[in-house]
């Protein structure tokens, strides 16, 4: 399983989760975990996803997400989970 973390941050508005998860559905990317919070009107969401279903290169998936990012005016980052496991788990 190729796990990645997608972080979405920006001013809160309607449809953020809907737009991101719709795109993930279109790409056949399964969502494994979501945490989301709003602090002072600032939206922060972190999603752990499994990229294997997409059968697509990492950069291509990222390009799709950046298109959504522009549409909803949020900052979207995707990076492999391995970096967090390496840093915080022995």
């Amino acid at each position: 399983m190729t796990k990645a973390l997608i972080s979405v941050t920006g001013l809160d508005t309607t449809g953020i989760i809907a737009r991101i998860s719709t795109k993930l559905y279109e790409l056949n990317i399964n969502i494994l975990d979501i945490t989301q919070t709003i602090l002072g009107g600032y939206f922060t969401m972190m999603m752990v996803v499994d990229l294997d279903g997409a059968h697509m290169e990492f950069d291509k998936i990222n390009q799709h997400l950046q298109t959504v990012s522009e549409q909803i005016g949020m900052t979207v980052h995707m990076q492999r989970m391995d970096i967090f496991d390496a840093m915080h788990r022995i």
Binding site: V48, F58, Q79, R80, F84, A86, M87, H88, R89
Partner: protein, 448 residues
């Protein structure tokens, strides 16, 4: 499952505290490229590098993108050229520079000679060509090993390097002596160092190897901000924890690069390497410990603690640690060091003391252009003596900036930064340097 706080911590380290992988360096053996005809030798070298390093930059960029961690440099180190150039080494130098450009690496190290006990004819030819080569190439780096704990100090080489450094500065006078920023004089040079300008692929290395250098002075500084006023036990523990995390990412990147390039993993170098950017300074870590400026009394102790804690934290995080491993203290590449020198807090003599307890040595130091060659040789001899006696790597990368005097400023640009010109002790040492010969290996050499 990783917790949100841990994810945010990693992101903060990368986005706000300048955590990055400083370099993925591909070591390439060139021994079988040797040929009596310099043109043929150069052609073989060029082909070998272009073939072996074909995918290095693309793979580095892909890892950077997927893991979200900047990989600042992709570089190459090669077999010391004095071992493969049977005649004129200059065509090989130019071929190396062309190959570096072709594969897209910003520096290639290995225009080197190991002459800590004595020089071969090939070493002599190489060393004599260094000023011309460094003035006519862009990405090639040169290193000369003049001393070791096992062999002592080759004072003939030390004498010669003073002159070579002066000539290199003169031939690159239009860029403040930039050629000297690509030339390192070593004692106890290591074979798997991924950092420039001193990287080369040593005789004990495999055909190819991936060596990774990590960095993150800003991360260590930020971690120490949270323990202000605490005793040094806590300071050391905080640095160790941070170094562990940084090195784990270095190990991850090294493993990925190794798998994707089908090249064996060599080592992770546990170094704290600063850049001229604010928030990426080793000097500022020392100051965070409670010093007004780097160079203040206590600086050497602070650096000793830092250097040791980085190694202790990092060693558990990687299965092979090597290279230079420690805190670098270059002047021009560290905004805190630049400020300390400009304020008069940090002198050449204090820097020399600091090199006893840090990773390497006197690094990226600009001195007046009229500094005599024998004074530069004397500085090299002093550094080499520290390395020889203490069983450690020391180095001198010094720039006698043409036309500049103490207090002036030199600009190298990019990662090489800028530096205030430091005064040197100019009392005579000509008779000392003129002696030549070898300083015998110390008692520390006899360890069997």
């Amino acid at each position: 499952m990783i917790e949100t706080g841990e994810i945010l911590q990693t992101m903060r380290m990368i986005q706000e505290e300048n955590f990055d992988i400083r370099t993925i360096t591909l070591g390439i053996n060139l021994l079988d490229c040797s040929h009596p005809d310099p043109a043929e030798c150069a052609a073989r070298v060029y082909d070998r590098i272009c073939r072996k390093a074909e995918n290095l930059v693309a793979v580095g960029n892909a890892i950077e993108s997927e893991f979200g961690i900047p990989i600042v440099n992709k570089r190459i180190s090669v077999t010391p050229v004095s071992w493969i150039a049977q005649n004129d080494p200059r065509p090989v130098a130019f071929a190396l520079d062309r190959a570096a450009k072709e594969v897209g690496v910003n520096f290639l190290g290995g225009y080197s000679a190991l002459m800590h006990k004595g020089a071969t004819n090939a070493d002599e030819r190489l060393i004599a060509s260094v000023p011309e080569v460094l003035s006519q190439t862009e990405r090639l780096c040169s290193s000369i090993n003049v001393a070791s704990t096992r062999a002592g100090i080759n004072m003939n080489a030390v004498r010669e390097m003073g002159t070579i450094i002066k000539e290199t500065a003169a031939l690159t006078a239009d860029s403040d002596g930039l050629g000297c920023a690509k030339l390192v004089v070593f004692a106890n040079a290591v074979e798997d160092n991924p950092f420039m300008a001193g990287a080369f692929c040593g005789p004990g290395e495999p055909e190819c190897a991936i060596n990774v250098g990590v960095s993150g002075p800003g991360v260590v500084k930020a971690a120490l901000e949270s323990v202000r006023g605490e005793p040094f036990d806590i300071v050391a523990e905080t640095i160790k924890r941070t170094a562990f995390k940084i090195t784990r990412v270095g190990q991850l990147v090294a493993r990925e690069a190794s798998q994707r390039l089908h090249i064996p993993f060599g080592i992770v170098d546990l170094s704290l390497a600063p850049t001229p950017a604010r928030g990426d300074s080793v000097a500022h870590i020392l100051q965070e410990m409670g010093l007004e400026m780097t160079g203040a009394a206590g600086t050497t102790a602070a650096l000793a603690l830092l250097n040791d804690a980085v190694k202790k934290g990092g060693i558990m995080a990687s299965n092979h640690v090597g290279g230079l491993s420690g805190a670098f203290i270059p002047v021009s590449e560290d905004i805190g060091m630049i400020e300390a020198v400009s304020a008069g807090a940090l002198t050449l003599e204090k820097l020399e003391a600091m090199t006893c307890v840090c990773s390497v040595g006197l690094d990226m130091i600009a001195v007046p252009g009229d500094t005599p060659a024998e004074v530069i040789s004397g500085i090299i001899a002093d550094e080499a003596a520290i390395g020889m006696i203490n069983n450690k790597t020391t180095a001198v990368r010094i720039i006698p900036a043409p036309g500049k005097k103490a207090g002036d400023r030199v600009e190298f640009g990019g990662l090489l930064g800028f530096a205030p010109v430091m005064p040197v002790n100019t009392f005579g040492n000509g008779d000392f340097i003129a002696r030549g010969g070898r300083i015998p290996a110390p008692l520390q050499a006899l360890r069997n």
